[in-house]
Structure formats: structure tokens, C-alpha cells
């Protein structure tokens, strides 16, 4: 049918905008980098960006159901501490260790989901509480920074693929293909979008609300654990750092917003959030390239974020009934 592409464009507008924003920023960055864009520069930039991108994907899954997950950063820290203890030894032991880390991530997400669904508590307070619990578990595992990780695995994930492509981008692509796309295309993912867009309409349409929420939270935990594993591979150690956890939680929300995912739920995609995360990281790198003092970085990041939120709020100007502004 003719005109299909215009509907496609409309549906993916926010994701495309996020991609365009990232592409512009990254081109400026690459063009002005003193050493030019070589494989090593790209790999370092990619590793930092991918870590946040994975956490942002985790956040997206929950935000789509119009929830919010303030424990993603802490699940990542917990996975980091766990991985630095069990992802070592023989290849078999390493593989089992990876599996264990991912399972713990799923468990954390599932606990969040169950409390939100059956306890009927707001996601924001639930995940503040569980986040603190997960951080406590991380501290119990690793009182002082340390530990180790299988170096073959670490090098494989943080190095370069043949041709100089950063391996972390491969990891990100794999996550999109294995976790995100099946979710997006499945009936359960559709249900998650429906809940975020209008929970009442979803209920009236006979959508499995509880199952969809549960899957969204559990997958969010899984992705956060992947991020923790990847962090371990970058640092070769585990650290129960509260600062790290909180920073990543907040940055993941920023990335989600920059990526065009609506905090009210129901619209946007994890791919948008990935570009949002990469964009957020590039802002910092840009300042470095232009020799701006690092102290200015938070201020500048804040301004960019503010501008993005204002764009997103433009729809409020169209509201004709003022009561709807306070709904």
C-alpha cells in the first residue's frame, strides 16, 4: 500500500530523532578528536557508552509499562560484585558463573515485579527499597573492592572484533536481537506497551496485564545483570559502590528521556534509549575534545537534557482543558 513509509516514520519518529541527535554529536566529536577516529578511540568510547546503553535498555522495559525502576543501578552493582567472585576458573566454571549472575539479575527483577503487581505498591518506592536491599547484598559479597574475572571473556567483550569494530557493540547488537526484538514483537511486549499507554483500555481489551508487567521487570533485571557483568569485564574487579549504582540509575532515566521514550509509558523503544545513552556519553566526550574543564560537564549535560525534555513536553501546549494538565 502506498504511504506505508509515512506511518512507519510516524511510529519510529522518536527513535530516529535520538539516532540523528547521536549521529550529529558523534560526528562533531570524531572530526575534532586530536588523534582522529582510530580503532582504540572508538573502542574506549564504545565501552563506556555500551555500559550505560544496556542499563538504559533495562530501564526502558519498565518505563514502557509506565513504571520506573530505581534499582537498575544497584542490580548492576550486585551483578558486578557477584561476577568478580564467580566468573573465574575453567571455561565451564566461567560459563556457569555467567549463568549464575544472569539468574540473580532475573531474580532481582522478578522480585520488583511481584511486589509491584501483587503488593500494588508504586514502582518508584518499591524499587528504592529493593535497590537498597540489592546494594546491601552487594556489600555483603564484597566489603572491599577486589576480585577477578576470567580474562579471556573480559578481553573478548571489551576488545575489538576483526576489522577493528568494538566488541561491545557486538554485545549490544546481540542483546537487541536476543532480548529486545523478540520482546517488541511478542504478544507480551505488545501488552506491555498497551499497559503503559492506557491500563484501563488494556484491561477492557482482555490483555494479560500481570504477566506483561512481570516479564518487563524480570527482563529489566536480566539486562541490568548483563551490564554488571560487562562492568566487571571493563574493570577486572568488583566494587560495591553506591555512587556508581545511583549514578547509573539516574543516567539511565536521562538516557531513556533523550531516547524519546515517554516517562508516561506506552511509547518509545529500547533502540531509542540506546542512542539516548550514547548521546549522553558523547556530550561528556565533546567537552573533553573542546578542552572544556571537566567541572562544567554536569552543567552542560543538564542543559542538553533540559532541552530534550522541553521538546518532549511541546504537546502540553495543545491541551484545551486545563484540568487535563493536572490529571
Amino acid at each position: 500500500m502506498t504511504g506505508d513509509w509515512s506511518f512507519w516514520l510516524r511510529e519510529h519518529k522518536s527513535t530516529l530523532l535520538a539516532f540523528a541527535g547521536f549521529a550529529v554529536m558523534f560526528s562533531i566529536y570524531a572530526a575534532n578528536h586530536p588523534a582522529g577516529l582510530n580503532a582504540n578511540v572508538a573502542t574506549t568510547a564504545a565501552n563506556k557508552g555500551v555500559l550505560l546503553a544496556i542499563v538504559a535498555m533495562a530501564q526502558t522495559l519498565v518505563v514502557l509499562t509506565s513504571g520506573i525502576d530505581l534499582s537498575v543501578g544497584m542490580v548492576m552493582v550486585l551483578a558486578n560484585c557477584l561476577a568478580s567472585s564467580i566468573v573465574v576458573g575453567s571455561p565451564l566454571m566461567t560459563a556457569l558463573g555467567v549463568l549464575g549472575v544472569l539468574l540473580v539479575g532475573c531474580l532481582c527483577g522478578a522480585i520488583n515485579g511481584l511486589i509491584v503487581i501483587y503488593g500494588r505498591l508504586q514502582p518508584i518506592v518499591t524499587t528504592i527499597a529493593t535497590g537498597s536491599i540489592y546494594y546491601g547484598a552487594a556489600l555483603a559479597l564484597r566489603r572491599v573492592p577486589g576480585g577477578d574475572v576470567d580474562s579471556t571473556l573480559a578481553d573478548a567483550l571489551t576488545g575489538q572484533l576483526p576489522g577493528g569494530v568494538p566488541a561491545s557493540l557486538g554485545l549490544l547488537l546481540a542483546l537487541v536481537l536476543i532480548v529486545w526484538l523478540p520482546f517488541r514483537r511478542s504478544a507480551i511486549g505488545r501488552a506491555a506497551y498497551a499497559i503503559g499507554s492506557s491500563e484501563v483500555a488494556a484491561y477492557m481489551s482482555g490483555v494479560p496485564i500481570r504477566r506483561a508487567k512481570f516479564v518487563a521487570y524480570t527482563l529489566s533485571g536480566l539486562l541490568a545483570a548483563v551490564a554488571g557483568l560487562f562492568l566487571t569485564c571493563i574493570t577486572y574487579s568488583g566494587e560495591a559502590s553506591a555512587a556508581n549504582g545511583s549514578t547509573y540509575t539516574l543516567y539511565s532515566i536521562a538516557a531513556v528521556v533523550l531516547g524519546g521514550v515517554s516517562l508516561f509509558g506506552g511509547s518509545g523503544s529500547a533502540i531509542g534509549a540506546i542512542f539516548g545513552a550514547l548521546m549522553f556519553r558523547t556530550i561528556g566526550d565533546l567537552l573533553f575534545v573542546f578542552n572544556v574543564e571537566p567541572l562544567w560537564q554536569p552543567l552542560f549535560q543538564g542543559l542538553v537534557l533540559m532541552a530534550a525534555i522541553c521538546l518532549g513536553a511541546a504537546r502540553l501546549l495543545r491541551i484545551r482543558n486545563r484540568l487535563d494538565l493536572y490529571g
Binding site: M1, G3, D4, F7, W8, R10, E11, P182, R185, S186, A187, R190, A191, Y193, A194, G196, S197, S198, V200, A201, A202, Y203, M204, S205, G206, V207, S262, G266, S267, I319, R320, N321, R322, L323
Partner: protein, 511 residues
Amino acid sequence: MSLFVMRGVSKRYGGVRALQDAELVIEAGRIHAVLGENGAGKSTLIKIMAGVVTPDEGSMLLEGRPVSFASPAAAHASGIACIFQELSLIPDLSVADNIAISNPPCRFGLIDRRAQRRMAEDALTRAGAEDIHPSALVKDLSLSRRQMVEIAKALARKPRILILDEATSALTAADVTKIYAVLKRLRAEGLALVYISHRMHEIVELADDCTVFCNGRSVATFAAGTRTDNEVVELMIGREYNAVFPPRTAHVASDSPLLLEVQGLCWTDKLSDICLQLKAGEVIGLGGLDGQGQRELLLALFGVLRGATGEVRIDGRAVAITGPHAAKRGDIGMALIPEDRKTEGLMLPMSVRDNLSFAALGNLSRWGVVNAAAERAAVERIVRLLAVRTDGTDLAAGSLSGGNQQKLVIGKWLLMAPRILLLNDPTRGIDVGTKQEIYQLLRQLAVAGAAILFYSTDYDELVGCCDRVLVMYDGAIKRELVGAQITEHALISNALNIGAQDENAATQRAT
């Protein structure tokens, strides 16, 4: 054997009886119209059939077998699809996604987009809306088109019983014609259709059988065309209780000053060319079926609606009311008692005193500091005046009964001594005793020189309380009833826009 039978179905909400001993028999291949005034129990009936609400008593038989539905999904599974008044579409998803939402076609666990697309195109064609693109987002469609998608969505489930609750109220004339053809074809295909509409001419055009509801009971079932419009209206009235209303003031003096004058007020497609005049000492009612723009009219006067056009004059002086804060200013002195006291009227967890003094805090404070003594005195005066039954003013407003909560909502505006009082269905869901106190109060305020504009879904109230009633239909004032003209019969027939006069019939055909 009948396709679907409901016997002795009852449902209560708290102390309110929404449905009592209701009977309904639905046959395949026929269109069954359900009639009744506001709050007669039609919505509850449908919600029970659609699995949204479970009945307290009674039984339902589908093809002779007893059934009960725990959720909308269970009703879908039995072949009952419902098109609700409030849309059940998901705004951020595409038309095809919405049509397939209950049961998307899957392959290897993933949604098969091509099959879904075919399914959507099929359903849209069956609904007579093949011009809607399946990939369009629902939020980009007009209300009428959305309603067509809603119908397509219901048809995609291949239902045996299709319930349409005011399904045509949002449709444009072109879409209505298509829907008529679609409904007649579905009937020929052997579907059972339950059709709820307030538009009598639609019922004449479509229905085979009719059931009239009144006060939660099914009072009569008859074949379409065997009763006149007038007889149907009589069936819909049948009241059980008669509240006692305060006597009207002899007559509002014709030289009594004009407080509020509205000329040509319009807002989006919800309000068109509203003109009204409100004199000091008058109680004016807004009548008509629920959702014909009465709520919007009150909100527009109170300055809540952005982009409302037209002229509003207070004391003969044109004013621009930009919001509640401006509306309550001394020279305007307007107050709105909102419809939903729990969200728009009260802060439930806060104390009775805080709730009462909120709107008037400006008058009770100096240099921004609240004068506690003045506040307490004012609050106690109102509590006494309205006879609010509460153990002191420190109690949370939420702990009071519904009727006393409503007194608080009214009382907080009385502290402002408003000259113009707008009320949006102030007696909904409160007990008869409190209702009567509210009627008395309204009359006292009017006698003291206030002008009152009063929307009610209860026709009895309009008859008992008002000096004049403006009947609204489709966002416009269609009829003004004065004094002895205000009868329940006149209110209902005008609300349905089937007034005896030929001029009304003519306007109806024109719209």
C-alpha cells in the same frame, strides 16, 4: 431457545442499588434496544454482560447453559464483545495492533505482522471503514474514526453477541450511515446485537425488540414499533420516591439585576453558541442527557477551558475569566462545585477545617499569614450553617459520609460568599436527607441574592428546584423550559430531542 438470558440480576454499589431483579432475553439475528434515563441501570447491565462487573445475585444463561464472567477476557471467550462509551483503544498503538490486541496472530511466539495486517484489513472492511490505514496510530485519528476502529476491533473477535453502548454518539453523519448498513448486515449474518442509544430515531430505524429500564429494574419488553414515543417516555419516568422540595420564591422580580450574561460561547466541538442570562435570585437548571456539554459549559464559565470563545458579562461588564483564581475574585465572585468531590473537590486526607478554608484563605490571612482565630470562627459558622455532622473540625475529610463530604465542598465556597454559584451534579450518590438540605440551601442562597446555575442528572431535582431549565443536546442549548413547563415528561422528551413540536423534529433531521 434464546441465545442469551439474564434472570433476576442485581447489583449494589455501597448502599446504592444500581440494578435490581433485571431481566433481559436476547435472540440471535435481532437487534435489541435497551432504553432508560440517566442512572437507570443500563451501564451496569452491560458491564455485567461484558465481565467488567460481577453481579451480586441472579443468573445468566448462554444457549441454555449457565455462565459467569470473572473478567472481560472471559466474556470475550464466550463470544460477547462490547463497544463501550469510553473507548477501549490504546492511543499509542497502531490501528492493526489495537484490532488484534486481545488475540494477536502468532508464529513461533512472535506476532505475525502480515497475518495481523490481513486480520485488521478484514475487520475494517467488515466495519465499513476500509479507508482507515491499519498502520495509522490511534491517537492520530479523529474521534469518529476511532469509534469505527473500536467497532472493527469488536468484530475481529468474531462475536456472537455484540453490545453497542452509545456507539454512534461520537460518529459523524457519514459514519453513522455506514454503521447502520453494517449493523443490518451483521443481523442478517445471525449475530445478536444489543443496542443502547438515546437517539429515538436510531432505535426506530434499527431495533427489533426494546427493553426499558427504570430505577435499576427492567420495566417492559416489547417489539419495536408497538409503543409510541410518548408511551416509551412514560415507561422511562416511573419514579419511586418523591423528594420534598422547598417552595419556589413567588417570582423573581423582572427588574432584578442581571448578574451573568453569556453570548455565543464556543469551545472545540463540545460547546456551540451558548447564550444564557442569569439574574440575581434565580435558580437555573441545566438538563439533558449526561455528556451533552453541561460539564464543559460550567468549566468554560469557570475559566478552566483554554481557547473558549464568546462573550461573558458580569454585571453588564465584559470580563475575561482566565481560571478559578480569577473567577473567585471579589468583582466576579463565582464558585464551582465540581462533579467529583473526591478528586476535584476535597483533599481527603486533610482536616475538615483545612478543606473548608482553602478557597477563602486569601480573605482569612494578613501578609500571607493565616489568622487562626478568624479561620476557626468562619469554619465553625459554616459547619453550623450546613449542619455538617462531624466530631470536630480536626477530623480528616475522608472520614465523613458522602453527604457530609458534599456539604464541605459546598461550604468551602460559601465562605467566599459567592454571587454566582455553578453546581455540577451536586447530589449524585448522597442520601435523600442531605439532598433535601442542599435544596433548601440553594433556595436560601437565591433568596439572599445569589444566582445559581445547577446541572443535575436527576430530572426530579430539576423539576423541584429550578425556576428555569435549559436543556442541552450535542453541545448546544436546545430548549428553555420556564415555570410550569418544567415537567419530567418535557425534560425527557427534550433531552432525547424528540419534542412534540415540529420545529424540533426538523432540527433533528438537519443534524
